[in-house]
């Protein structure tokens, strides 16, 4: 099945779930991956093709279409053609997709939020909970305070400043 052919059929008629998925806005990781691909392609195409590749394009040397070529739109063992196809399938839809980034969220934070969203809850908790000894705070097995104000005052008077429990 030629994925490009199905892409041309228009929305709603596309049976390929991967192509359907591309309709959503791209994630930061996808944009980065695509930029890397584009940079790689530009560096590759800016140079003259190797003699072997030039020879392959001459009419007398062209390989007749194989079943695989007909199926995938390019020969499996031709990396340059594969790069073209990947470019068409990956980058073109991204150009047309709306940009998802909120200008108020710094890009590095956004990348972290998106990475966390891809992790299951169990893994998120595994990364999130740490245990280090907190002087004074960890020295009693039980404490209770009648009011939050009492608790805040106790923190300010008893805990080391660097723990951060003091009021601003």
């Amino acid at each position: 099945m030629n994925p490009l052919r199905h892409q041309r059929q228009g929305p709603g008629k596309n049976p390929d779930p991967q192509l359907e998925q591309r309709k959503r806005p791209p994630t930061i990781a996808e944009v980065r991956a695509t930029c890397n691909l584009f940079r790689h392609a530009r560096l590759s195409y800016g140079r003259p093709a190797p003699a072997q590749a030039r020879a392959r394009t001459r009419p007398q040397n062209r390989v007749p279409c194989s079943a695989a070529h007909k199926e995938h739109g390019f020969r499996r063992n031709d990396p340059q053609a594969a790069a073209h196809a990947t470019f068409s399938l990956t980058l073109r839809p991204l150009y047309n997709a709306p940009v998802a980034q909120d200008p108020e969220i710094p890009a590095d934070w956004l990348a972290e939020f998106e990475a966390a969203a891809r992790r299951p809850l169990e893994q998120r908790l595994k990364y999130a909970f740490i245990k280090t000894y907190k002087p004074v705070m960890d020295d009693a097995p039980y404490r209770s305070f009648d009011t939050m104000e009492d608790y805040r005052r106790w923190c300010a008077e008893n805990l080391p400043d660097w723990l951060g429990y003091g009021r601003v």
Binding site: L125, F129, F145, Y151
Partner: protein, 156 residues
């Protein structure tokens, strides 16, 4: 004592549900349950203050393995504003009157459920941290507020 684990969060959820105790995850642990990528040391629970809920809470805590004297059980049951437990399988902070949130009922109506864990809405978590005016919260608040924007856009 080792760090708090997912399995222990499940045990809290199941023990509290078994005793019909009304509570919400709050603070950074609540935000983490909602997807906020950050680190914290212990779990904070906002518990409804009522005689019935207090009794259910004590029973659930004892089921979880917390060693409570009768005096401590009475204090928890009565609902002191803040109780810090380090006498069980993990550290747990019980908050009955967090800063910045008017009543439990209000927060309960706005709660978010994730994998069966009842969690305070991010607006409430942020409000309580803003009202606390602690140094450590002031440092983490800008990132948490940014996460709220992200979370609201991507919430399913």
């Amino acid at each position: 004592m080792a760090a708090f684990e997912y399995r222990q969060a499940q045990e809290i959820r199941d023990a509290f549900a078994a005793h019909g105790c009304r509570y919400l995850f709050i603070g950074k642990s609540g935000a983490i349950l909602l997807g906020f990528p950050d680190t914290t040391q212990d779990a904070d629970l906002f518990v409804e203050r009522s005689a019935e809920n207090g009794r259910a809470l004590v029973a659930a805590l004892r089921d979880l393995g917390f060693t409570l004297t009768e005096e401590q059980a009475a204090e928890i049951s009565r609902g002191k504003d803040f109780v810090q437990l380090k006498n069980g399988p993990f550290d747990l902070d019980l908050v009955f009157a967090p800063d910045g949130i008017e009543r439990f009922e209000v927060a309960w109506r706005r709660r978010v459920e994730t994998e069966g864990f009842p969690v305070c809405h991010l607006d409430d978590i942020i409000a309580s941290k803003q009202a606390a005016h602690r140094k450590k919260d002031e440092e983490s608040l800008p990132r948490l507020i940014s996460f709220r924007e992200y979370w609201k856009q991507h919430r399913r």
